[in-house]
Symmetry: D2
Subunit: 353 residues, 4 copies
């Protein structure tokens, strides 16, 4: 069965697995204090042009969001996010479990608008009864967003300025960051993110690692005793080497960026194929997630040959679906998918003619 | 200064204070195990036509909502509420503090619509990835709502049916319940609420008590060891007699209903006065909270003579404001308010002519 | 039935109830922003010789402990307390519910020893793996303790010095503070507590109020946005006047101290009566709680005539019991208790002779 | 530098790494729904003689304890553990972070005594004020314990019986379970654990895996919607294959048991070497953790050549230290350690003669 379901269907880039074998019997200290974690940190600092950034390694995305957000918020504060944000919808309430509200802003193709953010903050502070409300304590964005879209450098700058004018940090969820950075349609770079954000993470799981997310605090807005907070959240890996070595590998010879660019190239082939076949896009995504609006009977036929995600029901007859490419997608698989589409479209045509 | 700011500006009905004095030196057991709590329970059971309802006394509204909702939800569940619901906006995140998400539905003059509730529940269960989301575990409504509006018996029945079809409890916040029950425009009664809801509370604080809310589980959907849960939430009053005696007094000779009716009558005078003066209502409220849209300069003038609530900014020049009557509102105060209004309106007229 | 069960069996001092009646129809702002709260704060500041202390009013003791401790601790910190401390044993886990561990020290008649505190702190910081442990973030003591005992001024000074050397606050639970201050055997005063502690509360519930505890931060170690934290914990009373007016009354003309002294005098009569009858004290308590070791059959006989607390089973035949006096104890009740004791002791003698 | 610091210093058994490479490009579903997780479950069910046990895969030990304990406890309940238990001391308060108290029993070489457990439970239920206390809701033991000791089958049976008589589950932390099962001094087997416990986990991290713990509910005492609870705790791994494949490998051809036996054989060599050199054991451990009492100056000399854990200061001149063997310990390393010891002991002798 062909799969375009997500970007974590395969294992890890082979370099990672080979180095795991090569270093396997080295006796290393635990809990991310080993030399591979140190080496990875140095490479990440360099890639971010943040030579003294504080860096921590966690295992997964939801875990990282919950630990960072809980760590950075005061108890009376909540985190602002788009209504479609991962923390708003797809983390089983992990943020609320830490005691904090997710305060939602309207989403615009997955993004928040700076103007609406500013209005939200101003309204809060002007409200006579704001002491009885959840204080907005942080802004969460993801890049790419849940819908594969990207902020521009100007948008980031604007959001960052508003956050800092209100003395709250800006946090960027980079679960798929590589795929955002390698999109041809972006002017956002890692150093620029490090400049505008107070915390962000570079996702490993979805970009070629077995697991692992690198949390970066470029300007020492690191929660005090953050290692203990990580432990308290059950997020401190005993064999931290597994994380350090993976990020060290991914940030050697720009592997992370090469893998990401490959996924983007595959996504562009996908997009071209969809366009050529006159399929309806739900929105224009410049990254590795592509959203189509398909008829339910077509979905049923496709599902026999290829897996993809049913994103959201649009109306009685149509559903928004998602096709995802990754660092591991083969060009031949794109061709196979197109063949399947052609067959199914042919069947459709015959059925309705 | 005249005040129409809220329904908790005065102390308590005198019967309550007198009985506090009369019973003061009786030595009673603590933690709501005293005979006055028992007597109050019996009267509440009768008023609700729920002879074997489980009843608990807590001190305040936010506390009650947090304790009941946290007690009734499974850890992976959240509570559904209107986007304007008290638990959604005005409780400083007390629900999230207990680890649960407030899942919001659109509000319609403060109410939720049964059809939208049903769609929300259906969509959740149909979502392929619902195991990664917060489970809807309960429905919260308030009656009257934050905007003073009321559900009809049919609407309550409909919402109740949907909840029970999805095996989740319906919880009604009755902080101002008396004012809802005594509105001339309602077909909802206490027994009917006890029939449709799995838990609700009858508010004392806003209806003539010093403090106190009576939580009622009409059909034994009481969280196990709820007294300990109340204690754990810091909500168990040592001198429980203070709560028992107040509810016993309020539910003797229908005092609760008489007090509530008085507030409604005062609200109707208020409404008539506003209408007569051609003021713009934000919505049509049948209870003791009345919402107007006023110009900001008029608000400024009024504020010199009377206190009321700035509810929400509407546009650059207008604000939604709230005037509230209560069990303690004097008819003479309504007249004073109307005089003030007349003067201010006269000034306005002259200013702009 | 005669009762020596606790110090919250009666209502409130009559001055309080009378003033509730006198001020009943004043229209006051809510949430402890009213003038009575302001007046009470001024009186408390004076009594504590802390003219600019921050003061907040909460409803009950467990609630106060949970809110203050959670407010003052960092997420990775726990609170140190005696193994018999109220927060360790009798609050249904309210502290843990807020996410913090209670770290216990051995108790010595209810008190902690400064030397053991210092050793505990030193051991923690010397432990190679302390980053994997709960950080000691605060010291909790109660005065009087759970067992009615008192710290000396020197002991308090010593504990305070250790706390401050380790940069952690000292918090004193004064649920029964008046009874400690009015004991003849103490050199501890309110100003001295304000000098040594970073936070403490003066208990109203057990010293003549219907409810209410006054939290005092003498040196501005107040958690940021503490009012919102109180609200979030469900501990913000709408009719704050009820708390303000009670503390204003208690701290007018030294009523609080007079009430407390009375309870102590009654406790001394009790103690003399117990001594005279050769009953066995569990420990020597200088305050209003007296602990005896009684045989189980004697307890059974006594229970027919008087209520008191079964504190803890000592062995197969004996139980530690507690008799409590209060601001409301009548001298005639002490005499009645002694008569009952004489009868029961006479019966015992006959039974075993 | 030679290391006996812990059993997670090396990577993973090579079979695991090789299979990661072999299966790397298979496209598998996420979140532990892949066929390797299924296969691993079947093998674990067989090894536990629990054909229909519910099995879940988590990443690390603290995470697993927090998720399982929080999942199985009611909100008003705490978990009983030895005062030295991992959950009591070394998890940075992760259990309290979930809102639950750890109720401690005295430890006896790391173990709890059934009689003390029974007395604790009886005392709780007999206490008049137990509704104001944390309910004992579960018993946590680890096997081997923090001190390397083991429960006998009889002890386990006894504890299990007491738990079930009180209707609370027994949970066993098996972070080092293999090392317990392969000790020559045990009559405890996997099927026996599955018979006596309601939940337990088989640790992978410390027994040859890169990471991963297998949680087993032998009799369906599985918390409802446990996968969502895992997600909410940030403990659901996207590439679940990493966990499934590791356990599948460890439970193929008894690899888990072979690796464990090797560590035990190395520990016995270690023990013999220590005995022969007349070193003082802190206690007699039958598993892979060996505890000695060493003089501080000897520790200082040893630390130049070998790493081990400073467990706890004993007195001014002595410290308890821990040496750990593992699946990866080489016999030649034991010999090297003995040579180092001989040199250091020789130096000591000369220094003091």
């Amino acid at each position: 069965m062909l799969s375009f379901e997500n970007d974590y269907s395969e294992g890890a880039h082979e370099n990672i697995l080979r180095r795991l074998l090569d270093t396997n019997y080295e006796q290393l200290s635990g809990y991310t204090t080993d030399p591979y974690c140190q080496a990875a940190k140095a490479k990440l600092q360099k890639a971010c042009a943040s030579p003294d950034a504080d860096i921590y390694f966690l295992v997964g995305g939801t875990q990282t969001n919950a630990t960072v957000i809980d760590g950075m918020l005061a108890p009376y504060e909540g985190v602002i996010a788009a209504s479609t944000g991962h923390v708003s919808v797809h983390e089983a309430g992990a943020i609320e479990y830490t005691g904090h509200k997710v305060l939602t802003l309207p989403e615009h193709n997955g993004k928040i608008h700076a103007a609406e953010l500013e209005a939200f903050l101003r309204t809060f502070w002007e409200d006579e009864s704001h002491e009885h409300m959840v204080f907005p304590g942080m802004v969460y964005i993801s890049h790419p967003t849940e819908l594969g879209t990207l902020y521009t450098a100007t948008e980031l700058a604007h959001i960052s300025t508003i956050c800092h004018a209100h003395h709250i940090p800006l946090y960027l969820d980079g679960a798929r960051l590589g795929y955002g950075l390698m999109s041809p349609d972006t002017d956002v770079t890692l150093p620029l993110i490090a400049r505008y954000c107070d915390a962000f993470y570079i996702g490993g799981t979805k970009v070629g690692a077995l697991c692992g997310e690198a949390v970066i605090f470029p300007r020492h807005h690191t929660p005090k005793h953050f290692l203990t907070i990580i432990k308290q959240h059950g997020a401190l890996l005993a064999k931290g080497r597994l994380l350090g070595l993976q990020f060290d590998t991914l940030f050697t010879d720009n592997l992370y960026f090469h893998l990401s660019r490959h996924a983007i190239e595959m996504a562009q082939l996908l997009k071209q194929g969809f366009h050529k076949r006159n399929l309806t896009f739900y929105l224009d995504s410049p990254t590795n997630q592509q959203f189509l609006i398909l008829k339910d009977d077509m979905i049923e036929r496709l599902k026999k040959h290829v897996t993809f995600t049913l994103w959201e029901r649009l109306d009685r007859e149509h559903t928004i679906v998602r096709f995802v490419t990754s660092w591991a997608t083969k060009e031949s698989d794109i061709r196979k998918l197109m063949d399947i589409l052609d067959q199914v479209l042919e069947t459709e045509k015959r059925t309705f003619s």
